[in-house]
Symmetry: C2
Subunit: 239 residues, 2 copies
DNA sequence: CCGCTGTTGCGCACACCGTACGCACACTCG
DNA sequence: CGAGTGTGCGTACGGTGTGCGCAACAGCGG
């Protein structure tokens, strides 16, 4: 142990570390965790690294957050807070719900790490941002003459669809970004193997050999197709 | 270090460890991992513990599996293999797809840990069981007169809905089982806090204070409602 | 002004993790 | 009887989450 690293040996050597505000706050921790997750992904989030980014020791964070799981719940709520819910001024309920679903997809894909976390945080709907989101989405459905009880189920249906697609897409985008290649390069490179692997399955084989589309656009179109079908189905319940 | 644990000091002391079959195989490893996950959940799966269950050292597994992520991909494919796809004999395509979706939900909830993993395994659809599943589901839609291209999108839509609900439900069931209480106890205990927390949100508040249903049945009904709407929406695309 | 009390940050330590590396063995083939 | 090959395992490294107890201060009553 080097001698100069010994604990404070004299008064003027000792660092003065008193700040006006408490250096750490739950909000700062959550914000920094979000930045870290966005830039380096889920497996890069450790309490030590997060502490270091905040000029704090790892275990200091535990004064503001019970444990890592709780931190993740807070971050997830923060992400849900970014979803935009339009108002119904001059829009049909369908247009508004569509815009909201597209915003949700965009937010979830922008923070693709969230797919690995959604399956772990139960009780997500207790977060303040999630509650605000759900309340506002309920108004959209009720503006479309759904009964309160049915609006609730309609909301759950749309969100389940969005989460399902986002989970699948996010997993794909994550492995993609780990590979370093672009999406188009990846699918092009994989195509021969895919065509070979689907040989025993005629229908999959036909799809694999069909005219390839531009990859990213194709994902968006697929999402929109399913969303329209879901909304078609909900519409049949209206008078 | 106790003296009797020293390495083989003479010929007849040394254990003879040759088996007829290789002790480990990829199939055995995957099967045991599945058992471990089902009985103790995702955070209990470690290569060391899995090795111990197979009477093997932790690192021996790496002869058969590239790394833990690859192991998880194999296990996920195994789970997908448990989903039952009925044939269309004497059933409408809707009935068959409904049965398949219900089976998928049941399988995913039976292995609730899968929700924490689905967002990490990209390229899930390359597994043999997933391919078989998708091929068979395509036949259901094509039996219902969907075009091949549209059957593909319809399949993706239904699966996205199933995965979305299963992710949410599985997260709930996991936190539930960690708490030790029964589902009904949990919701009953949470009700007052929920009613309080929803005070600022009139629509959520109304739903929270409404006549409570039996919890598990309510989840199943909600799933069925959304599934019916999705299928309604798909049906509008048929002549 | 002094001392007390409660809050905050931090260093240390523990148990555990995934896995790279290289050795020891038993079997197969020449 | 070698040589080669595949398989299991022991050791080790650099991480992880987090419990625990101490040190430094803020705000306070006296």
């Amino acid at each position: 142990m080097p001698v100069e690293e010994q604990p404070a040996m004299s008064v003027w050597t000792r660092p003065q570390r008193r700040r006006d505000q408490p250096a750490l706050s739950r909000a700062q921790i959550v914000a920094e965790a979000l930045r870290l997750l966005d830039s380096e992904g889920i497996e890069a989030l450790s309490m030590r690294k997060l502490g270091a980014r905040l000029d704090a020791g790892a275990t200091s964070l535990y004064r503001h957050v019970a444990n890592k799981d709780e931190l993740l719940e807070l971050v997830v709520d923060e992400v849900y807070g970014q979803i935009e819910v339009p108002d119904t001024w001059g829009r049909t309920w369908r247009q508004a719900v569509t815009a909201c679903a597209e915003s949700a997809r965009a937010v979830l894909l922008r923070h693709a790490w969230i797919a690995s976390v959604l399956g772990q945080v139960g009780l997500a709907y207790l977060g303040p941002n999630v509650m605000r989101l759900n309340e506002r989405m309920l108004t959209l459905f009720e503006a479309g003459k759904f009964s309160p009880a049915e609006a609730d189920r309609a909301l759950a249906t749309v969100m389940a669809y969005v989460i399902g697609t986002a989970t699948t897409e996010a997993a794909w985008l994550t492995t993609l970004s780990r590979s370093g290649r672009s999406e188009q390069e990846w699918v092009d490179g994989l195509r021969p193997a895919l065509i070979e692997a689907t040989k025993p399955y005629p229908r999959l084989h036909a799809l694999a050999t069909a005219e390839p589309e531009e990859a990213e656009r194709s994902r968006g179109d697929g999402f929109r197709y399913g969303l329209d079908r879901v909304l078609d189905g909900l519409q049949t319940r209206l008078p």
